[in-house]
Symmetry: C2
């Protein structure tokens, strides 16, 4: 392998080892059946979203480039390696979330060769801006997945964090921008959660 | 949403909830820096491979459809939900691994609407047969990743399981079928691991 290619591969490998750390960033959502229930980490969450993107793409409001959505959800949480996971119902964490995540993006993507750093950064910026059809759909499944896990775990994380129905609806309404069908489904889950006592009214 | 679409979405959602269980299938490879080191699970492993596929595709021996490789690695371990993870250096587990995994594939993919069940099963069969350029490359990174994690953790899993250099080389030689460049890199890691005492000669 020529020296330039070696240098390129070294940077790719350094990035790949660095992102191993995302497996240790814990979210509030719970995973698993009652006996093995634990907090989900952001790496396995991203894997779950990637498969959801492949399987649910047909429910997007318009035509989308599915492989771009998949890449977007694979990288969308990498900034949490430095910035940590900000719980979506934590107003204090939200205050400086953007600044923390911008710094993280600067450092982490710069580990890669420049062309790939730009590509990955572009995917993340696109996801955050939520303007393109792909970003709207990626954000939709990123919100739908915790609603599903919360419903499945009888609302344990919602109840532990004092989250109410109105806040869940406000947080998840952007699902509709990506998929009206999935938003209707999420609404059904939320109302069912209230009915069953998983979520406070 | 028409009743047919509802039924279709219900099956997709049932599958998406079922595969949450992959987050609880533990591998032998370790993840994390010394203070937080733990066994890796197959869901976060699959996420890691998906990003490796995107970033390392240029090192494949020939032209590959990267988005197919990504989908392949996202589903390649799903059968472990029923069949468990078979450690690659465990000869006894290897004896009935194929039969266990075939049964698992029958059950798990059948949760999906039929067209998607066929697509996902096709990806898994392709990965297992290791004949197409995409499958060869997907298998290459599935082998390279644990070598990287083992080297990074000073060979802890290799040492705990009494694995020797010759077995690591035999297990990982198929990397070459997917990427001569990555195989050269893996060989370098393995020899370095022997030199540093991470791996027995």
């Amino acid at each position: 392998m020529p020296a330039n290619d070696q240098e390129r591969l070294s940077r790719q490998i350094a990035f790949i080892l660095e992102i191993d750390r995302l497996k240790h960033v814990l979210r509030r959502s719970l995973t698993g059946s009652p006996g093995e229930r634990r907090r989900e980490n952001s790496a396995e969450h991203s894997w779950h979203l990637a498969l959801m993107a492949v399987l649910l793409a047909e429910h997007a409001n318009g035509a989308i480039d599915v492989s771009r959505v998949v890449k977007m959800v694979l990288v969308h949480d990498l900034v949490e390696i430095d910035a940590g996971d900000s719980y979506c119902y934590d107003d204090r964490a939200a205050l400086d979330k953007e600044a923390r995540e911008q710094c993280a993006a600067e450092r982490i993507f710069a580990l890669l060769p420049e062309d790939q750093a730009l590509e990955m950064r572009g995917l993340w910026d696109d996801f955050e801006a939520r303007q393109t059809p792909e970003a709207k759909f990626a954000n939709a499944i990123d919100r739908l997945q915790p609603v599903m896990l919360n419903h499945y775990s009888q609302g344990q994380a919602w109840r532990e964090n004092g989250v109410t129905r109105d806040r869940v609806i406000a947080r998840n309404r952007p699902i509709e921008e990506g998929s009206a069908g999935l938003w209707a489904f999420a609404r059904g889950l939320i109302e069912d959660a209230v009915k069953k006592g998983y979520l406070e009214k």
